[in-house]
């Protein structure tokens, strides 16, 4: 029972973190204490948090290195934009309906693409799997660069040549090849973003603490042992991959609907890497860590704006130091010294009790 309450406590504190952060931001905005540029970052922050949490499902919980997460984000983003444009043309005006329907559509299509990509990918392991996810991400980007999609009264038109070959009369072009999607209704809101974050976190956490999630973690910890207790390894690796893709798709919709234009090359390898950095810095399998890392690292370049020219350089140095410093011998010695000092103090306080026992480790 103690274990359950421990999981429950950690889960609740994760939700609490999101809600408190939301309230704080709302209060600060009410008091006009947040700069305009930072306000513009609020929706992208939510999107990146969703992406980091969903990628953590693949990298941290399922234990597969994926380098193509941005690909699924872009599938969702473009699906969402197309669906929203079609709905708007059909006369749907309520922004909430537009947003929800396009987010669901984006998640669905990205999930299906994730499943289709996952079937061949899951035949591989380790670095080979990583490079194939990278390849799929690049292929998705390249294909989107060649997509021309428009809508007119006759319905959707699709071409891979150019926009004029769509053969439309008085239609609107939604996706225009490398120029991307233009004229997007900016319907994403911070509230919508926070709700999506909550949904994403709930899906991942619920999955983690369930029969399916334990199977996924079993495969990560020891594939051969997992097989030996009757777990269908491919099914659960695929499940984690597809669910994460769907969540990335929804996050992509949120992200796209915050801008009037998106282009396919925004969702390239570097974006995938950026999301991976959030996951690793936040801690593998640690959902709360992913949230904090994604939010902090999206804000960091914003905070460093004063030293504009050097900010990305500093970002890089921070990244390296965060990884390297905990492994330095001098740092470890320092930590040990502090720990020993604290232990000594504790021991001095309860010296008589600690005199016996305590050394029962194998």
């Amino acid at each position: 029972m103690k274990k359950l309450s421990k999981t429950l406590r950690s889960t609740l504190s994760t939700y609490a973190l999101i809600i408190i952060a939301f309230i704080v931001v709302q209060v600060l905005m009410g008091a006009d204490l947040i700069s305009n540029s930072l306000q513009g970052q609020l929706v992208p922050i939510c999107a990146y948090v969703c992406l980091a949490v969903s990628l953590n499902l693949v990298v941290g919980i399922s234990g597969e290195l994926s380098l193509g997460h941005a690909g699924f984000m872009s599938v969702g983003a473009f699906t969402g934009v197309i669906v929203a444009a079609c709905l708007a043309r059909a006369g749907v005006e309520a922004e909430l309906v537009l947003f929800v329907v396009s987010a669901v559509a984006g998640a669905l299509v990205a999930g299906i693409v994730g499943l289709l990509v996952g079937i061949p990918v899951m035949r591989l392991r380790g670095d080979y799997l990583a490079i194939v996810t990278l390849a799929f991400g690049e292929i998705i980007k390249n294909l989107l660069n060649n997509f021309y999609i428009g809508v007119d009264n006759a319905g959707l038109h699709f071409s891979m040549q150019n926009s004029s070959s769509l053969g439309m009369e008085q239609g609107t072009i939604i996706v225009n090849g490398p120029q991307g999607a233009v004229g997007i209704d900016k319907i994403s809101t911070f509230v919508g973003g926070v709700v999506l974050v909550l949904i994403t976190v709930a899906v991942v956490l619920n999955l983690m603490h369930s029969r399916s999630g334990r199977a996924i973690m079993a495969v990560r910890d020891n594939r051969i042992a997992a097989e030996s207790v009757g777990i269908n390894v491919t099914k659960y690796r695929l499940m984690a991959f597809a669910v994460a893709s769907a969540l990335a798709g929804a996050a992509g919709v949120l992200y796209a609907m915050n801008y009037s234009t998106i282009i396919p090359s925004q969702f390239d390898f570097n974006t995938s890497i950026l999301i991976l950095v959030y996951v690793v810095l936040g801690g593998m399998g640690n959902i709360r860590g992913s949230i904090i890392a994604a939010a902090f690292l999206t804000v960091l370049p914003e905070l460093l704006r004063a030293i504009n020219d050097y900010r990305m350089l500093i970002y890089a140095v921070v990244l390296i130091l965060v990884m390297v410093v905990p492994n330095l011998k001098t740092y470890q010695r320092l930590v040990d010294m502090v720990r020993v000092r604290i232990l000594k103090r504790d021991a001095a306080e309860q010296a008589p009790a600690a005199a016996e026992g305590g050394e029962g480790h194998e």
């Binding site: 999955l207 334990r214 973690m217 042992a225 030996s228 207790v229 009757g230």
Partner: protein, 297 residues
């Protein structure tokens, strides 16, 4: 606990294995009932090397069978073949009368073969209870959708998981460790947890790969009791690889000796102890000659 049967009855039901070369389906067994395991001409090649060749064995429904042999004889390879970690090059494996050809390791487990590993393979970062819950994966059902949406089915499954996991842990008196991380358990407890996890999958045949490795005599004695106990409790067949001859000779009803990938002897513990080929395999040809000379004199 209802399945508890008395030891004597279980022992009567088991069959003796016949020494090589004759391969037979146990004579004193009710033939209507398929054996827990039957291997026919099983073999695997690694490159040109015949790691296991012409491996024939029949293990009765509730038999405890020992698989022994010098290091590198191919014992663990046999286990890997039985659990489909390796796909056999030739031969058939029948589990409870069903051919396992082409099955995945997961499918073979669902059919009723569970195992432990020589080098312990627990889910180290998860708790002891979670390890057993993963063993129960196919005993308690709940789908991804109900898991994510926390439908009533999920809660029912979690309750089942918790109850059953603790019940299984209780068999080896391990419920007290439920919240420990599996990787942090003492060595002996890790070995026991592997057995619990394997049992939780509801096997008909349990394969134990060197269960007593690294244990002291009192731990080994306890393990021996436990092996017999779980056989009687669950009425299952157990096949074990072990170097501790005391354990093997005391609890195994049938023993199969492997050397260079081939069976060199099969029989009861008494028969195996007398078998000249076994002595030669373990002690070398010289020892055997010497003994023969002694006999002649």
């Amino acid at each position: 606990m209802s399945k508890l049967t008395d030891f004597g009855k279980a022992r009567r039901e088991t069959t003796k294995m016949v020494p090589v070369p004759s391969h037979s389906i146990m004579p004193e067994r009710d033939l209507g009932q398929a054996p827990a395991l039957e291997c026919l001409h099983l073999g695997i090649d690694f490159g040109g090397l015949k790691a296991v060749d012409d491996f024939n064995i029949t293990v009765g429904k509730t038999e405890i069978c020992g698989l022994i042999g010098p290091n590198g004889a191919g014992k663990t390879t046999v286990f890997n073949l039985l659990t489909k970690v390796y796909q056999p090059t030739r031969g058939t494996i029948m589990v409870d009368g069903q051919d396992t050809a082409g099955m995945s390791p997961a499918r073979v487990n669902q059919l009723g073969v569970a195992r432990t590993f020589q080098n312990i393979r627990l889910f180290d970062t998860l708790t002891v209870e979670e390890n057993v819950r993963i063993g129960l994966h196919n005993q308690v059902k709940s789908g991804m959708v109900s898991d994510i949406l926390r439908l009533p089915r999920f809660w029912k499954a979690e309750r089942d998981f918790h109850e059953k996991a603790l019940w299984y842990l209780d068999i080896f008196d391990m419920a007290k460790y439920a919240d420990w991380t599996a990787g942090s358990l003492p060595y002996g407890a890790q070995r026991r947890l592997e057995i619990v996890r394997a049992l939780a999958t509801g096997p008909k045949l349990l394969l134990l790969d060197e269960p007593a490795a690294g244990m002291n005599p009192s731990e080994t004695a306890e393990l021996m009791e436990n092996i017999v106990k779980i056989r009687n409790m669950f009425n299952i067949a157990i096949m074990l690889i072990e170097h501790d001859m005391n354990l093997v000779m005391n609890i195994c009803e049938g023993i199969c000796v492997l050397n260079f990938g081939k069976i060199i002897a099969k029989g009861t513990p008494e028969e195996i102890q007398q078998n000249p080929q076994v002595i030669e395999a373990y002690l070398g040809a010289g020892a055997h000659q010497g003994e023969k000379g002694g006999e002649a004199a």
